[in-house]
Amino acid sequence: MTVPLVWYVFLALILFTIGLVVIVSRHNLIYTLMGVELILNGANINFIAFARALGGKYPIAGNIFSIFVIVLAAAEAAVALAIVLHVFGHFGSVRPEDPNMLRE
C-alpha cells in the first residue's frame, strides 16, 4: 500500500467539506440531500481506509459498516424524497425557505 492513509483521510475531508457547502449554499432541498450523500461517502472512505490500516478483523468490519451506510443512505433518500415531494404538493416549492408557516 503505497498511498499513505492520510491522503484517504484528506479526500474524505474534502468530500465532507464540499458536502457541507452544498448543504448550506444551494437553495433546493434535493441539493441538500445530495450534500448529505457526499458527506456519507466521505465517512465511508474513512471507514474503509482506516479499516485497512488497522488490519486484523477490521477490514471485514469496515466493509460491513460501509455497506450498512450505503443501505441506510438509500432508505433515507427514499424517505426524504417522499417527504420532499409531499411538501411540494403542499407548498408548490422545493426551496428550503418556502415552507415557513412554523417559526419564532
Binding site: A43, N46, F50, A61, I83, P99
Partner: protein, 568 residues
Amino acid sequence: MSQLQAYIKDLGWIGPELVLAATALVVLLVELYRRGRKSGWSLGLALVITLAAGFGLSWLGRTFSAALGRPVDLRLDVAVLGLVYVLVTMGDLWFKGDKWDRLVPGLVVLAGTLLAGYYAVGLMSALSADPKGTSVFGLQLVDSYSVYFKLLALVSLLVVTLFTMNYRDLKRGFGEYYLCLVGAHLGIMFLVSSNHLLLIYLGLETLSLSSYLLAGFRKEDPRSAEAAVKYVIYGGVASAIMLFGFSLIFGLGGSLDLVEIGRHLAGTAQGSNRVLVGLGMACTLGGLSYKIAAVPFHFWCPDVYEGAPTPVTTFLAVASKAAGFAVIVRIVAVLGQGPGWLEKVTSLMAVASALSMTYGNLGALHQTNVKRLLAYSSIAHVGYILMAVAALFGAATAGEGGTFHVDPRAAESILYYLGAYMIMNLGAFGAVIYIAKSAGSEDMDDWWGLGWKLPVVSGVLVIFLLSLTGIPPTVGFYGKWLLFRTAIAGGFLWLAVLAAVNTVFSLFYYFKVAKVLFLKPAEESRGVTVRPAAVMAVVLVALGLLTLFFGVLPSALESLAGASAAAL
C-alpha cells in the same frame, strides 16, 4: 453449548425487542387484512393470524425464559391478547367504521407493549444481581442501564398509543402509523443497549427515519408536512455529520466497540492526533445533540414540535429525547475517560447546557402556542440534564492507568430526571391534546377561563407545570434537586447558579398557562364543543398522581435509577 442454544439465549436477552417486532408485524398483517375486509373469509384470516401470533408469542416467551433459566410463564398473557384481539376484529366486522379502524391496531400495540414491558420488568429483576449484564450477539450490552431506558420507552409507547387512539385529527393510515411508532421504539430499544458504533448508527436511523415519517403523518395538513421536511433535512444532515465523526473515532480509537475505543483513547495521550480526534468528537457529539435538541442543534425542535401531530410530539419530546441522552451519556462516559479528553468533552457539554437552558427559557417567554411553549421548555430541560452530563465524572480523580470513571451519583441523577421528565411531559402533552381538542385551538389566547369548564384535566395540567418548574412536592422538584447537587459536586457551580436563574424565568411562562386557564370566570370562556374520551382523562389523572407520588416518595424511582446507573 451449541451454536443454536447460544443463539436462543441471545434472543432471550433481547426479548422485549422481539415482542415489539412481532407486534409491528401483526399490526401490518391486521392492516393488510382489514383493507380487504369486505369479503367473508377475512374473519377466518383474522382468526388464523391471531392464533398464530398468540402461539408464536407464547412459544417465544417460553423458549426465552427457559434459556435465561427463569420460569416465566407467558401463556396467560398471550391468551388474553388473543382473546382481546379476536373480540375486536369480530366487533370490527359488525361495527364498520372509523372508530374500530382507529381502535384495532392501537389495541394490538397496547397488548404487545404490555407484554414487552412485562418481559422487560423480568429482565430488570434478573439483572438486579449483576447490573453489568451481558453482551449479546457480540454487539449489544444488555445491562440494567439499557433496560431502564427500555422501560421508559415502553411506558412512552403505551401512553402515546393511548393518546393516539384519542387523537381525532388523525383520520386514516392507522396501521402505517403504528408500524412507524413501534418501529421508532424498536430503534430506541436497540439504540440504548448498543455498545457498538454500527448498532448506534442503525438504532438511531431506525428511530429517526420512523420519526420523520411520523412527523409528516397528517397528510392533509401543510404544517405537518413542513415539520416533516424540516425534521428530515435537518436530521439527515446531522446524522451524516455524526457518521463522519464515527468514522474518525473508529480510525483513531482503533475499534468499533465503545469500550475498546475508550480504552484505546485513554491510552493515547493527546498528541498529534488531537485535531482529528477533536473533529471526530465534535462531529459525533454535535450529530447526537441534534437528537436531544440541545442548543445550537435545536433549530428544528420548536417548528417540528408545533407542526407534528401532538402524540408524535409527545413521543419526540419524551422517548426520542431519552434515547438520545442514553447514547450521549454512554459516549461521554467512554470518550471522557482519557486524561486529555475529559476536560474538553465536559466543557463542550457545559457550554451546550448553559446555552440550552437559557435559550429554551428565553424562547418560551413569548410563546402563545402551548405546544411551541412546551417545545422551548423541553430545550430548557435538556439544558438542565446536560448540566449533569457535564458533571458526569464528578470531581474526577484518575483511577488506575490514569483513566477517569463516571460518578454513579451523577448518572443516577440523569436517569432519575429522565424518568421524571417523561412522566410530567407525557402528562403535559396529553393535557394539551385534551384541552386543545375541547377548545378547538392550541393557542393559549383561546383558553381563557377553560379551567372551570374542564376542571380535572386543567388541574392535572397545573400539577405537571408545577413539576416542570420544579416546585415541591412534585417529581420534577426532586429531580432538579438531584441535578443541582450533581452539578455542584462536579465543580459546575456556575451552571447550577445559571440554572437557578433560569428556573425563575421559567416560572413566568409556566404560570402564564395556569393563569390563562383559571383567571377568568367560566362565563367568559369559549364553549367546550367536543369532549375527548374519558379514558384520556383517566390516563392523565394517573400520570398526575404518579407525579405527586414520586414527588413525595422519590426513593421508589431513585432506587431503580441508582441500580441502573450502577451499570455504567
